[in-house]
Symmetry: C4
Subunit: 270 residues, 4 copies
């Protein structure tokens, strides 16, 4: 009973959807503060630091990871309140597989890996920044982000289809371009991955300029790809655009529903 009460209090402390909870807000502020300290530390780590600063940086990291680990375990523990209709085990699995829980896991795991497998990858440690996604839970932007992610969810299938088409076109373009340009620029178009890198730079119109065709056939293919790129970029824009327009229409429809009348009997239609 007592135990259950502590658990419930912990749940109220760390839940995200409660704005009027003072203790919860303080807790959130501490976590956000710690995230920002971590970001500054990751940024500073990229400069050459004096030994004492490296030590401070290490201490911050250890403290952060401990706090984030405890937070993660607590969230897992109280996940049973989030999905009350499920068994305790299922609720925790479901929470552990949610986007935010995975973000938290990816952010703390790299610290523990070297204890198990003796590798030291700085790149892995940089994964801490992924924790930044947590900032999206700050209440101020929640409504707008929901509207945006709602559009993406409703249009997911169409967006994925257009990405599939783009991917197939890029693969075809890469293979053709490799075969066209390999003879003229064997160092630049050395294998299919180089050609794919070119395809991405061209399709997205980034065009760094590190790789481009020099043969007439290659330039012709590149031109076709660049134009297809524009056309296919217009598709997601059109899809997302129509998603936002749909949002507006739905809102209007709901507000208009009272104004319909039957032309025969004149009565108001639902």
């Amino acid at each position: 009973m007592m135990f259950e009460r502590i658990k419930y209090n912990v749940y109220n402390l760390i839940r995200d959807d409660d704005e009027n909870n003072l203790a919860g807000n303080i807790f959130d502020s501490i976590i956000v503060g710690l995230i920002i300290i971590n970001i500054i530390q990751v940024v500073l780590d990229t400069f050459k630091l004096p030994p004492y600063a490296v030590m401070i940086s290490n201490i911050i990291e250890v403290v952060s990871v401990i706090v984030f680990t405890i937070e993660y375990l607590l969230r897992l523990w109280v996940a049973t309140y989030m999905y009350p209709n499920m068994s305790h085990f299922k609720a925790r699995i479901k929470y552990a597989l949610s986007f935010m829980a995975l973000v938290d896991l990816v952010a703390i795991l790299p610290f523990y890996i070297p204890f198990i497998i003796p590798i030291d990858l700085r790149v892995l440690r940089a994964l801490r920044v992924i924790r930044l996604f947590r900032l999206l839970k700050i209440n101020r932007y929640t409504d707008s982000l929901h509207a945006i992610s709602d559009v993406f969810r409703r249009k997911a299938s169409q967006l994925l289809s257009s990405i599939l088409v783009v991917f197939i076109l890029m693969l075809i373009a890469s293979v053709l371009m490799f075969n066209i340009e390999n003879a003229a620029q064997p160092d630049k178009f050395d294998n299919i991955f180089d050609a794919f890198w070119w395809a991405i730079a061209t399709f997205t119109t980034v065009g760094y300029g590190d790789i481009y065709p020099v043969t007439p056939a290659g330039k012709l293919l590149s031109s076709v790809i660049a134009f297809l790129g524009i056309g296919l970029v217009a598709v997601p824009t059109g899809i997302i655009s129509s998603g936002f327009v749909e949002n507006i229409e739905n809102k209007k429809d709901r507000s208009e529903e009272e104004q319909k009348y039957c032309p025969y009997c004149g009565k108001q239609l639902k």
Copy 2:
């Protein structure tokens, strides 16, 4: 009779629109598997392979082409079921000219060309990747792809018109740019095709950086072109966007049509 029955079974095996056909699904999986093996092989072919790998690669290619050729001929044979109102000959011609049949033909033909004309073009063989388009027939994405291609079909005329305008503008820009920059950069702007290559890089905003104007007049023209480029890229985006909005409107209209009965007098609302 017996013959006709085999033909009908073959048709049921290879048709694309039947989801509940076990044998058909197995057949589809084999073809998709073979396509993926081919893609991996095309990718690996771009690396320097040891002799035994080259031999394996050649065997895969021969087997694939044989399978795909048989499949192509079978599809041609049973095409009469797809267009039952046509004569057998007309139905097969019609099928042979469909997008998917042409894709299949382009993918197998390069293998046979060297037997007839003694050339060995690796580029031609790379055309096998075009077969990737077949993946678009996988059922999962069919609806979304239909929605997208439907928008393109309805707006085809407007899209083609805007492409025509872009093409004319690019041609004019190329000729002017060639005459402006040729004196200052005779090696870069050597002929009109170089200038056209610049126009494409600028209009599509790819901007590789391999060719750009250096004279004040050239820069002025380039600026105008870059801005026109943005303006004209906005047009297809706008057209496609409105196409998707139109889809939503039509769906709404249709779903509204079903409810068109007055709940009080029961009369149908037109």
Copy 3:
């Protein structure tokens, strides 16, 4: 009377809006053919040609300009039929100032300038390509082009406003960037026009890579400008997009107008 009849026949021959006129269609085909020959000639002129080819090219040019000049004068002559309510003089001035008449004039004038002022500018002669715009009058694309140009006309004021804002922002960015980068790269950012060239490459996201900031302050400004660029490019896209959606809505409204009923008396509202 006789003279007036010839004039009327000429008008019917060269007017653009009549599809069922055989003589008119033949005339159009000849003009379009001559334009295409001119384009080929302009393209070939950019290569080093043998003397006899230069001679043929010159003959083609002289013949073309004569034909186009006669056509221009005839159009001016019969312009009185296009604007029957105006005086002859006013009608001709009005026609001469129309887009297509100006295109025609710009295309033939460069040929005559060297006779008056003794200069020989190849660039001016290249203006012949502007005649390409005439291809837009081919009937096939007329409807779609009308729809597109209609959107531009209706939204002209909003588009111009957004261009004005972009221009002011680019000018401000150029002046600031020049003052920031001039000390670090005196050869690249030599004067304000170099900075403006950078601003255009950044705003339009072309990014050739011939000029970019190297100082931290310059990179910060460049980042802000690149993001503003994306934001402001989204504006014309949004405006044009809404223009096309408006087209659809208007069409729907017109087709729906019969379905409105008064809720009190049940009568159909016009």
Copy 4:
């Protein structure tokens, strides 16, 4: 009384919303003229000028700043008429914090700073160009600019949310890219700011080509970022697009509201 009258006349002279005021229009023209002279001067200052031209330039600057300072103080003085319901002090503070007043202040302040703190920053003086924003008050474009800024205001929250997401993604990408590429290109990816500069060039698809990944892992990350960039650029375009469509819908709704009378029974249709 007399004093109040002068103040009211000054207010009428410098207010922006009155089109039929001759004296006001002359005043506006003088200010716009002075702004344009200043722009030309800022542009010319970037070239090496002979001593007498430098002197003229200095005189123009002193005169301009004096005129703009007087104008600024006058506007502050008469701001009480703009917000009649506020106390004099509050009204002036409110005006001083408006966008246009801040633009005016930023444009004149750099001239006075060297008198207080002994620094001479040409960059600061270049801030004069910010005055260009004043051109936006010219009546011709007011309506369209209102429509555009109205869309931005209504969609501000959604736009800011998408910028927040982009910013977080760019920060994560930068940290990862720095750790991936630092070993391979220690001079190019020297610290996190270099990596952030790369992230901006990639997300905005500018792609200058001064910095890009060379390792396979870096290229993979860059590809993902470039595609996310396109996806996330589609979001503001979609938001702004739907904003403009909403404008049209609202206008239609309002224009429909006036016609809501049944022509048969005369009753008002709700």
